[in-house]
C-alpha cells in the first residue's frame, strides 16, 4: 500500500520542524517529539479493521493533502474572528491562533500560571506517556507550541480558563496541532473550557491533545465545545489523572461540527477520587461525532459516572464507545455508564458499545445504552393539548438532550448552551 497523503504530510511537517529547530534538536523536548513521531509511524493511520476505529473511517481525511501551520495568521484582533461566548466574558482567554498563543481577558490571578510550552520545563510536561490515539501522538510530534496551565496548591482559580483553538483555513485546508496541559495542585480548583473555531470556508484538520492532572483533593472540569465549525475535522484526546479525593469532570459538547473524534480518558489513580464524563451531540446534515471514553479504576473506593446523549437528524451519525476498567485491587468501586441516542431521521445512524472489564468482585457497576425514535405517544399527548407536531417534537427532543447540559457547572454558559440547543432543535420559546 502506498503511503497515505496525510501520513506523508505529518512526516514532512515533522522534518521541517526538526530543521527549523536545528541546533536545539538535542533538547529533551525534541527527543520527546521524535519519540512521538516514531510512535505515530508505528501506529500508522488506522483503518476500520482496527478495533478502536471500527465504525469511524478516517480514509477520506487521510487521502487528502493537509498543510501543517504553526505561525500564520491574518491581520486583525482575535475578537474580529471569534464571537464572544456568553458567560465567558470574565474568563482568562488563551487564544491559539493557528497554533500561536495569545492571551486575552482577565488578568491572571496569583497562584495561576499560564505559559507557552516553549517556556515550560520538561518536568512540567511529561511526554513519556504516549497517548493511544495515533492522531494524538501525531499532535505530540508536531506541536512545537501549546499551553501549560498550572494552578498552585489550595488556589481556587476565580475565573474560567477559556482555550480558543482557532484555525484559519485557505483553499488547501490546513493541519493544526494543539497541546494543552492543565494541572490543579492539592485542593486547588479550576474550570477549563476549550472551544473550536474555524475561519474561512475550507477544510481544517485539527489534532489536539490535552493532559490534565488533578492532585489530591483538587477539582477540575474540562468542557470542550464544538459549535461553529462545520468545516472542522477534529481528532482529540483528553487524558486526566486524578489523585486521592480529587474530582474531574469532562463535557464533550458537539452542536455544529463536521467530523469529530473525541477520546476522553480518566485514570482514577488515588482512593476516593471521582470521575465524570458527559457528552452531548446534536447533529444534522452529514455531521459525524465519535466519542470514545475510558475510565480506569486503578485503586479502591473510587466513583465514576458517565452520561452521553445524542440527537441525530438528517444523515448524521455517531459512535459511542465506553470502556470501564476495574482493576483487581479496585474494590468498592462504583461505576455507572449510560448512553442514549435519539434518531430523528431514517438516514441517521448510531453505534453504541459499552465495554466493561471488571476484575474486582466487590463493585457496583452498571451500563445502559438505548437508541430509538421519539415516543409517539408522548408526541400525541402534547399535540392533543394543542402543540403543533413540530413543536411537540422540538419540546421532547430538547428535553431529552438538555439533561446532560444541565450538569454543566457554569450558570451563564449553561443557559447559553441550552438556548443554542433550543434554537437548533426549534424549541426556542417553548
Amino acid at each position: 500500500m502506498s503511503t497515505l497523503p496525510l501520513a506523508t504530510n505529518i512526516q514532512d511537517a515533522f522534518d521541517a520542524l526538526a530543521t527549523a529547530m536545528y541546533g536545539t534538536s538535542a533538547e529533551p523536548f525534541h527527543s520527546a517529539r521524535k519519540a512521538a513521531m516514531d510512535g505515530f509511524n508505528e501506529r500508522g493511520i488506522p483503518t476500520t479493521r482496527h478495533e478502536e476505529w471500527k465504525y469511524t473511517n478516517v480514509m477520506p481525511i487521510a487521502a487528502k493533502t493537509w498543510r501543517h501551520v504553526q505561525n500564520v495568521w491574518s491581520d486583525g484582533t482575535i475578537t474580529d474572528h471569534v464571537h464572544p461566548v456568553p458567560g465567558l466574558q470574565n474568563a482568562i482567554g488563551i487564544v491559539l491562533r493557528n497554533g500561536i498563543i495569545h492571551l486575552t481577558g482577565s488578568t491572571i490571578p496569583d497562584g495561576v500560571e499560564i505559559m507557552p510550552l516553549s517556556s515550560a520545563s520538561v518536568e512540567d510536561v511529561n511526554e513519556s506517556d504516549l497517548h493511544d490515539n495515533p492522531f494524538a501522538v501525531a499532535a505530540m510530534a508536531l506541536s512545537s507550541e501549546g499551553v501549560l496551565v498550572r494552578v498552585a496548591d489550595n488556589v481556587q482559580c476565580p475565573h474560567t480558563i477559556h482555550v480558543m483553538v482557532c484555525g484559519e483555513t485557505d483553499d488547501d485546508g490546513i493541519l493544526l496541532t494543539t497541546r494543552v496541559f492543565v494541572s490543579a495542585g492539592r485542593n486547588a480548583q479550576v474550570d477549563v473550557i476549550e472551544t473550536h473555531h474555524t475561519l474561512g470556508g475550507a477544510d481544517l484538520l485539527s489534532l489536539g491533545v490535552c493532559s490534565a492532572v488533578v492532585h489530591e483533593g483538587a477539582r477540575m472540569s474540562y468542557v470542550k465545545i464544538i459549535d461553529d465549525a462545520s468545516a472542522l475535522h477534529h481528532i482529540g484526546q483528553l487524558t486526566a489523572r486524578v489523585e486521592r479525593s480529587g474530582t474531574f469532570a469532562s463535557h464533550s459538547i458537539n452542536l455544529n461540527a463536521g467530523f469529530v473524534r473525541n477520546d476522553a480518558q480518566i485514570k482514577l489513580a488515588g482512593e476516593l477520587s471521582q470521575g465524570f464524563l458527559y457528552g452531548t451531540s446534536i447533529l444534522d446534515g452529514v455531521q459525524y461525532v465519535d466519542n470514545h471514553t475510558v475510565v480506569d479504576h486503578m485503586v479502591p473506593h473510587c466513583h465514576s459516572e458517565e452520561l452521553y446523549k445524542g440527537v441525530y437528524n438528517g444523515a448524521s451519525a455517531g459512535v459511542f464507545n465506553g470502556k470501564i476498567f476495574v482493576r483487581p485491587q479496585a474494590q468498592k468501586t462504583t461505576a455507572y455508564q449510560s448512553s442514549h441516542s435519539l434518531l430523528l431521521s431514517g438516514k441517521a445512524q448510531v453505534n453504541a458499545k459499552p465495554q466493561l472489564e471488571i476484575w474486582a468482585d466487590d463493585v457496583k457497576c452498571s451500563h445502559g445504552a438505548t437508541t430509538g425514535q421519539l415516543n409517539e405517544d408522548a408526541v400525541f399527548y402534547l399535540q392533543a393539548r394543542g402543540l403543533e407536531r413540530s413543536k411537540a417534537v422540538a419540546m421532547l427532543t430538547n428535553a431529552f438532550a438538555a439533561e446532560v447540559l444541565e450538569k454543566l457547572p457554569h450558570g451563564e454558559l449553561k443557559n447559553h448552551l441550552l438556548q443554542r440547543l433550543a434554537d437548533k432543535l426549534g424549541a426556542a420559546g417553548l
Partner: protein, 255 residues
C-alpha cells in the same frame, strides 16, 4: 339545543382490525354523557379517534364538533377547536416541566384565537387559581410532566390541564380509576365547577360511583364497537346491579 358533538356511523380500525363498528352519538351543549361498557369494547378507541390519533383509520362515518368536520383537523387543531381528552393512561414526559408545557399549550390556544401570549405573571396567577380547583400542590408545576406521579396524581393533573384549557367538549377516559375516595370527590367537584351551559362532558367509566358526583343526562353502553343501549342515569344503577350479560344477550337476540 345545538349539538356540540355529532358522531354518525363511525367505523374505525387498527392494523386491519375493526374496533368501532358504527358508533352514533349526539351530545348537546350543557349535557353530561356517560359511556360505560365491558373491557375492550372500544371506549378508549373512540376517545383516541376523536382526538385524532393516527394509529386508527376511520373507514366510514363522520364526526362534527360545533359543526366542524373533525376528520379534517390535526390533533392540535381539534384541541384548539375545544376538544379535550383526559387520557386513561397519561404519558410520562421526562425533562418537560408541567408549568412550561402548560404555558406553551395555553399560548398555542391563544394564538389560534388571535390572542397575545399571557404574560408570566398572569399565567402564574391562572395556574394557581386552577390548581386550587383540584387541590393540587404547586410543587407539581416544576416537576417533569407526569413523571413519577402516582396514578391518582396523574388523573388530577389531567383535570388541572382541562381547567387551564377550558374546552367546550371534554372526554374523560376513566379519570376516576386510581383515585382514592377523597380525590374522587375533589376531581369530580373540579369537573362540575368547569361546567357551563355552553360546554359538555363525556365521561367514560366503569363505576356508578363517579356518576353520583358527576350526574349524567344520558348513559350509553358501548359493546363490541357499537352503542347498544342508551338511557338515563338509572341505566348506570341497573348495570351496577346486573352487569353486562343481559345487554349482550338482548343485543345478540336483536342482531
Amino acid at each position: 339545543m345545538s349539538s356540540l358533538l355529532e358522531i354518525k356511523n363511525l367505523h374505525a380500525s387498527i392494523e386491519d382490525r375493526e374496533i368501532l363498528k358504527g358508533v352514533d352519538l349526539v351530545v348537546h351543549a350543557g349535557e353530561v354523557h356517560a359511556i360505560m361498557g365491558p373491557n375492550g369494547s372500544g371506549k378508549s378507541t373512540l376517545a383516541s379517534v376523536l382526538a385524532g390519533k393516527e394509529d386508527y383509520t376511520v373507514t366510514e362515518g363522520s364526526i362534527l364538533l360545533n359543526g366542524k368536520d373533525l376528520m379534517e383537523l390535526s390533533p392540535e387543531d381539534r384541541s384548539h377547536e375545544g376538544l379535550f381528552l383526559a387520557f386513561q393512561y397519561p404519558v410520562e414526559i421526562p425533562g418537560v416541566s408541567t408549568a412550561n408545557f402548560l404555558k406553551t399549550a395555553v399560548n398555542e390556544h391563544r394564538a389560534y384565537r388571535g390572542d397575545e401570549p399571557l404574560d408570566p405573571g398572569a399565567f402564574l396567577a391562572l395556574m394557581k387559581e386552577k390548581m386550587k380547583l383540584v387541590e393540587m400542590d404547586p410543587s407539581f408545576l416544576q416537576r417533569s410532566l407526569n413523571e413519577g406521579f402516582s396514578g391518582g396524581e396523574k388523573k388530577r393533573n389531567e383535570i388541572f390541564q382541562m381547567a387551564m384549557l377550558e374546552p367546550t367538549l371534554a372526554v374523560l377516559d376513566e379519570t376516576d380509576s386510581g383515585l382514592d375516595i377523597d380525590a374522587l370527590r375533589i376531581v369530580a367537584g373540579g369537573v362540575n365547577a368547569l361546567r357551563t351551559p355552553n360546554n359538555a362532558t363525556v365521561v367514560i367509566t366503569h363505576y356508578q360511583r363517579l356518576l353520583d358526583y358527576i350526574v349524567p343526562d344520558v348513559v350509553h353502553v358501548l359493546w363490541n364497537g357499537r352503542i347498544v343501549r342508551s338511557g338515563d342515569k338509572s341505566l348506570a344503577l341497573e348495570l351496577e346491579k346486573r352487569g353486562y350479560d343481559w345487554i349482550k344477550n338482548e343485543t345478540a337476540v336483536e342482531a
